[in-house]
Structures are given as C-alpha cells and as structure tokens.
C-alpha cells in the first residue's frame, strides 16, 4: 500500500523488528537520537535523492522546529503531540518562504542559497529573545502525551519517538511513490522535458521542498521533546552538513539509506565525543571517502550487490 517492492517490504519488516527489539539491548536515549536523526535525514533525502536538489540549509527547518516545539511546551504548556505538530508547521512555513526564494536557482547555486538563508535564520535565532540566545531553551518538560501517557519514562518516550519516525518514514515513502513523486523523478532526470510536458516544475519542486522541511521540523520538534532542550547547535550549519553526510553515507536516493546513515553517524559521534575535534576530522574523512569511492552509500552498495533497489 505504500509502494514497497518485495525486497523493500522485507527490509521494512527487518527495520521495524530492529526498532522493537533494540531498546531492550541498547540505551533508549541513544536510540531516540538515532531515530530523530534518521527522520531528519529521510526528510532531507526527499530533496537530494528524488528532486536532485542539494539543500545545504536543512538545519534551519530542523532547528526552528526544535525551538518552536520547545518554546510552546515550556511557555504555553501544550501537549507533546501539539508541540511536535507546531514543529512540523514551523518547518513547512519556513520551507515555503525560503524555498520560494531558493528554487529560483538550481544546482550549485541552490546549495549556496539554502546555506546562506539558513545562516540568516541562525543569526536571527542568535538575536531573537525567545530562543534564549547562547543558552537556548532548556529544561523543557516532557509532560504527558494526550494528558495521559507519562513521557518521563524513557521507554514510553521511545515508543512515541519510534511511532513518529515510522509515521514520517511511511509518509515520505508514500510521497515518493505517488504520481507526484513520479513527476519529481522526471524533473530530476530531465527538467526541460518535464516542462515541455506541461508540468510546472517550480511548483513541484517547491511542494517537495515544503514537505521535506515539514518532516525536518517534526524531527526537530521530537528531538526537543526527547532531550528537553533546543539550542543554536540545531540551527547551525554544521547540523546541515551532518544531515548531508548522514544521507550520503547511507545512500542518496535510497529508501533505507538515511536511517542506516543516521545509525552509523550517531554511533560514531557517541564513541568519538571524548576526542573533541576528531569528530569533525572523521566526518570530513568519511565525506571525502564517500564522494571519491563510495558514492552509492552503504544501502546503495548493498542494493547493487544484491541487485535490488532498497
């Protein structure tokens, strides 16, 4: 029903089983970090993998989603579900405005424009009073979901995050395999042809961008909920770079690649955190290795080896 091929259905079942089993083996807090990063990367992949546009400013949508979710929870004491929805809406609205400007150019310029616009958002967050500047928004209470489910328990929180991730994942997959998604791929392959067939390619690109930003905002809001904090790091351009790395490592334009990349990148950060700037160096080296020798990414290579599309 979501347009999965047989191989993809099997992979999906494997992923769900892993999501269900892993909190009994690994720390739920670590896994929640992986899942929010995976959702963020899956959203990003919609643009780079299926529209062929590299957004170098996705941290803006992730970070603003995170700020707005944290702020509404802390100040208005809204329900966690509402806060995440606010996060998604923020991502979508910001995506509409910035996307409207950015899709006027393509290729390398699109990447530079999104980077510059995200930098503007960063400076805005640095100055705006509601973000708390350098301190960020801290100690956001998780509260009770729908007023009933106590989210302060990490395991309960984990299941909620897992559901949000799966929801976002299936949504994006559905988008990609809809007629709309087919047009997107057509635009990626040959934009003048799509135009000549009567498609308003700019509108398609903008809608895809807004959807991608919306899910990025949801991921940011979920992250704020889990860790009770929204900071400048979330909007910083290094976060944009990280999501590019995650997706590239997992496999651009693959269904399961971003999630796989998130698992690897988050684990790596976890283990390297004690070594300070070596995280940056390692990330840079992975970037270069991926571009030079490993362009299909982990899942892409696996798929090519098994001759299936994952």
């Amino acid at each position: 029903m979501f347009g999965f091929s047989r191989a993809q259905s099997i992979a999906f079942v494997v992923m769900v089983v892993l999501i269900v089993v892993s909190p009994f083996v690994l720390y739920p807090v670590f896994l929640m970090r992986v899942l929010t990063a995976a959702l963020f990367a899956t959203a990003f992949n919609l643009m780079i993998g299926y529209v062929g546009l590299l957004s170098f400013g996705h941290a803006a949508f992730f970070g603003m989603g995170s700020y707005v979710a944290a702020w509404t929870m802390k100040t208005w004491h809204v329900d966690a579900a509402i806060a995440i929805i606010f996060g998604g809406l923020t991502g979508a609205i910001l995506g509409l405005v910035l996307g409207y400007l950015a899709i006027r150019r393509s290729g390398i310029y699109f990447a530079m424009i999104t980077l510059a616009l995200a930098q503007m958002v960063y400076f805005f967050c640095l100055e705006a009073p509601f973000t708390g500047g350098e301190d960020g928004i801290q100690q956001v209470p998780r509260g009770r979901l729908f007023g009933v489910i106590n989210l302060n328990n990490d395991m309960t929180m984990y299941w909620v995050v897992a559901l949000v991730f799966l929801g976002g994942f299936l949504f994006i997959h559905r988008v990609i395999h809809s007629p709309f998604g087919q047009v997107l791929k057509g635009i990626r392959e040959n934009e003048p042809r799509a135009t000549s067939l009567g498609y308003r390619t700019d509108d398609y690109k903008l809608i895809a961008f807004v959807l991608s930003c919306m899910i990025a905002g949801v991921a940011g809001g979920t992250k704020a909920l889990v860790f009770g904090i929204a900071t400048l790091t979330d909007v910083h351009y290094s976060t944009s770079g990280e999501v590019v790395l995650t997706t590239l490592l997992g496999g651009l334009g693959t269904v399961f690649g971003p999630a796989m990349g998130a698992l690897v990148v988050t684990s790596m950060e976890n283990y390297l955190a004690q070594f300070g700037a070596w995280v940056t160096v390692t990330q840079g080296v992975i970037f270069m290795v991926c571009v030079l020798a490993f362009r299909r990414g982990i899942i892409g290579e696996l798929g090519a080896f098994l001759r299936i599309s994952l």
Partner: protein, 295 residues
C-alpha cells in the same frame, strides 16, 4: 563635531572603513571562488579553510622560523597554493566527470578535515599576530583617524584584485584561460595543456585566499574558525554578484562590505544579516545575480 545624518562623522567613516575591510576580504574570496568555478566547475567549499591556512602559515612562519610579515605575504600564499595544487592533482581532479555537487561535498569534507586538524593542534581560542612596525599607528585624514594597517589592507586587496582582473582580462594567459572556460576540448585541440591550466587556476585561486588570510591575521585573531565565519557570507556574495564576471565579483565584494558597515551605524541589529537580505532581494528581482550571465 561634524554630524552626517545625525551620526558623528568619525563613527560613520570608521564603520565605513571597517566595511571596506570586510568588503576587501569578500572581494578576494569571491574572486577566487569565481575563477575556480569558471575553470573547474566546482564550488570550492574549502576556500574558507584555505584562507585560514594562509593566516596560520604567516603565524607559523613568524613563530617557528622567524620570518616576518612582508616576506610571509609572498611566502604563505605560495606554500598554501602548492598545497592546493597537490589537492587538485591528487583528489579534486577525480571528480571532473561527475555532477558538480560532488565537488561541493568533497571540498566541504576537506574543510572539515583541515579545520578539525588545526583545532586539535591549536585549540579554537586564537592567537594574536602583531601588526608590523611600519604599519603601526594611525594617520589623521582630516575627517577621521585611520589606523595605518587598515588602510594598507584595503589598498593591498584592491591592488591584488585589480592585478587578478588584469591577468585574466588583459594578458594572453588570461585569454587562454577564458577560452578554456568557454570550451575546454577546443582549446586542448589547439595544443594547450588544459589539465595543467586547471591545476594552476586552482593553485592561483587558493593562493588568493591565502593572501587574504595573511592580510586578515593581524586584524582578527588567527584561529581555526576564522574561515568558516567568512565563507558563509562569501557564498551569499557570490549568489548576489553571479559568477560570470571578474570585475563583478570585486565590485560586489567591496559594495556589500560597505553596505554592511553602514548597517552597523544605522541599524546594528541587522548588520549580521544584511548581506543575506540583499541576496533575498536580488533573488526576487534578478535571480541570476547582478553580473551573472543568463542561464
């Protein structure tokens, strides 16, 4: 005290000068980016890191070898330029047949590696670099006191930018370069060693960034993040100017620096974002950039 638009004249001119200095760096960096893009078809994301390396090279030359500012102004760009040539030969040249985006991703990774290594070795707090004795002090221009070093930076940047423009637009080497940018296979058929030309272009662009880095060393503290702080703004400058024209890059760089300086006087809160706002306006009115060729 003389007032202009309700602002004390020394303050206004002081910020204007600071703006010109920032503009000088924007101009030199966006010029290098434009030249490299024209020839290699990649956006050199590592440009900021190489700018930082230029500053560090001058600091190292002074502290480890005892070579002063003026020799470093020549030596540091040569050293970093050679480093750039090695990078181009060993890594970047593998990407020419691929989508442009891979070049951007590769050089982004490269900048992470370079900055990470420098941060490991020198921390991120930054080291001071003394202004050379000859350029210490300030000159009274009548309407303001100008610190000599700042005046020197603007002058040196202008000379280097115009020299680059002259080399590309007025010499036979520049003509070959422009021809190769337009149609590389044809130029190669005429017996020009295009791959070598590409390598030299990259080396030259990198050396330009390193030169800017040396100029920047006494103004900003020499630290591993100094390039990153600049490069994001420089990308906006490149989008505003469009990468079609050398003179365009120079004018846009200096112009935006001045706009930024004036914003600091009249509405300081927006000074960090004004370049991006200009970019938004340019995208709305003239998406291809002020000096860009029609797509």
């Amino acid at each position: 005290m003389i007032m202009i638009f309700g602002i004390p004249a020394p303050l206004l001119f002081g910020q204007l000068l600071l703006g010109l200095i920032n503009g000088a760096f924007y101009a030199m960096l966006s010029l290098g980016l434009a030249v490299i893009f024209g020839m290699l078809n990649i956006i050199n994301f590592a440009h900021g890191a190489l700018f930082m390396m230029g500053a560090f090279a001058s600091w190292m030359l002074l502290n480890y070898v005892g070579i002063g500012y003026f020799p470093a102004l020549i030596l540091a760009p040569i050293l970093v330029g050679i480093f750039g040539i090695i990078l181009e030969k060993t890594i970047i040249s593998r990407l020419y047949k691929l989508d442009h985006l891979y070049g951007l991703l590769l050089t982004f990774g490269l900048s992470l590696v370079i900055e990470g290594l420098f941060r490991n070795a020198y921390g991120s707090s930054g080291m001071p670099y003394r202004i050379p004795d000859v350029l210490q002090g300030a000159t009274n221009l009548g309407f303001m006191y100008m610190p000599n070093y700042r005046g020197w930076v603007v002058l040196a940047a202008l000379v280097v930018c115009l020299a680059t423009w002259a080399i590309i637009e007025k010499t036979s080497l520049g003509a070959t370069l422009r021809a190769a940018t337009e149609n590389a296979p044809l130029v190669q058929a005429f017996g020009v060693d295009v791959p070598r030309l590409i390598t030299l272009t990259y080396g030259g662009g990198v050396a330009l960034a390193a030169f800017a880095g040396v100029l920047a060393a006494p103004i900003y503290s020499v630290n591993p993040n100094m390039g990153t702080n600049f490069i994001n703004t420089v990308f906006a400058v490149v989008v505003i100017g469009g990468m079609g024209s050398i003179m365009g890059s120079i004018l846009t760089g200096f112009g935006l620096g001045v706009i930024e300086g004036l914003t600091k006087v009249f509405y300081p809160q927006a000074s960090a974002t004004v370049v991006f706002l200009v970019m938004v306006i340019v995208l709305l009115v003239r998406p291809r950039g002020l000096f860009g060729k029609a797509a």
